[in-house]
Symmetry: C2
Subunit: 337 residues, 2 copies
Amino acid sequence: MRESDLRERALPAGGGGALVYPPAVRLRDLGEFGLIARIERAVARSMRRSAGVVLGIGDDAAILRARAGEDLVVTIDALVEGVHFRFATQSPRAIGRRALVANLSDLAAMGARPLGCLLALAAPPSLPVRTLDAVLAGLLHEAGVHGCPLVGGNVARARQTSLSITAAGAVARGRALLRRGARAGDRILVTGSLGGAALEVARAERGVGRVRRVPTPRLAAGRALARLPGVGGCIDVSDGLEADLAHLLEPAGLAAELDPARVPRPPGFAAACRRLGLDPDRLALGGGEDYELLFTLRPGALATGRLARRLGVAVAEIGRVVRGGGPAGPTRGFRHF
Amino acid sequence: MRESDLRERALPAGGGGALVYPPAVRLRDLGEFGLIARIERAVARSMRRSAGVVLGIGDDAAILRARAGEDLVVTIDALVEGVHFRFATQSPRAIGRRALVANLSDLAAMGARPLGCLLALAAPPSLPVRTLDAVLAGLLHEAGVHGCPLVGGNVARARQTSLSITAAGAVARGRALLRRGARAGDRILVTGSLGGAALEVARAERGVGRVRRVPTPRLAAGRALARLPGVGGCIDVSDGLEADLAHLLEPAGLAAELDPARVPRPPGFAAACRRLGLDPDRLALGGGEDYELLFTLRPGALATGRLARRLGVAVAEIGRVVRGGGPAGPTRGFRHF
């Protein structure tokens, strides 16, 4: 079927000029080039001019431009249906938003500013075009909010839907935040609150609502941290606090003295856990995908209150780096394979 | 199972220090972090120092460095098992090589030099580690040959194996080769030969051997073209000559006068097609994945012989750009959905 045929069957939407397809219209009805054209139009509608983009979608590759004295930061992440998300329990729009947020959070954890992103979309031909549209709208929403336009991509047929996203950013030379750099005696800090993402997934799995909450990538906080003296190591909390702390500390033979009671949680967290019979400490320390920044700071650096003002986000001091003694206890982050 | 347990069951290899696993050892036996560590070790063994890489695998993102006055070129491509490759008919090493070559070819078509690449690997837990090793070895082989080190990635569980690769490169500002730029009267040229990839796939589908041949990304030719005056548009032949010509010409309302007899083919191509009952013109004009450069040149620019010397590869003039009159005939490139 040619795309022009499809347009005639589409229903005009209430406003905004977009077409609404009945649920029965699927990717196979669009065809590959129809799907690509659809994505291009969605990007064209949503995208504002960006100084970092020299050439966007439509060529063999995209061209991005950093400023003089900046390095390029690149990261890739994949979300797979049935593993990282489920259409049954998550809104397609939230899935698209989360897919980009995971990447933006990696840029944040490096102290980088976004330049642009690429999407490799794999999906079964039976996927409703409506679902794809909602996923894409979510992704483009985050792209717009955080100034990370979609500049290229790839579409392929597959048995499962998956979104592999590459985000590219820029950071002043020698100023990137790295995982390595923590020292014994450093304070351990985390932005925002932890456990909220895991709680929402647990609720959805018990049939209490769908996963709609989308974490905020801490881009401004990461850039502010990259300018501060006294930062040790930095990572974003994607696998869970304990697992990500291990990424920061174990390679250097370090460990953490953590006060679980000081790990910040969202409002109403303990009560919500209790209602579901969940252990709040387990969720706050082991749950992933909150995308907060976890970092260490030299003992003499900024006090927590001033730091929070500089980062523009709540910051909690949750423990201290100590010399390690062998591998830490079992971590609770999600592992593939 | 911990990775240390697995090592004890692995058989020492003949040389090189690598371990050979019996076929029964699968990804699920490695675990996620075991798999990541395995990839990191393979990269560490294969990678040479590269001026473009500030920070490789092991952090939240990689850091790349272009030279002053260069822009960044980024592209993403995905190969899906059962769609783009089949373990039954292709050697895993060739699959890994092709996966990166597809990306390097996009950099070539922009006139860019490679800086580094990222791999999002999705695979079923039942995939033999041996197969993964061979895919990875193929990918790292091309990465080494073309100076495009693997600087980061992501692993995820999925029902089908797929490789989403992002390649990043650099090109002098304003010198990138673009698809747009062809004009009526331009000569149409192509490097190397076409149809070889499609012929090999057709042979493999008939049970005559496995797909082992891996195209060469025309990186040096692309960079040389980017320095030449008189180049119109440029693309790499991934969908097939006719489809990719359409990408160059149709958006500008142009068309091609093509002489099929002048489309260069590999040695013995016609005879091999005849033996399999295949139409050689159909394969040479419609077959994809040869990854040659297809470009247009102003009428007064270099003669073909001198051009070939400048590009370091055979070049054939196959036709001429003319004003278009509506959509071209049906294209034969592979389409998804």
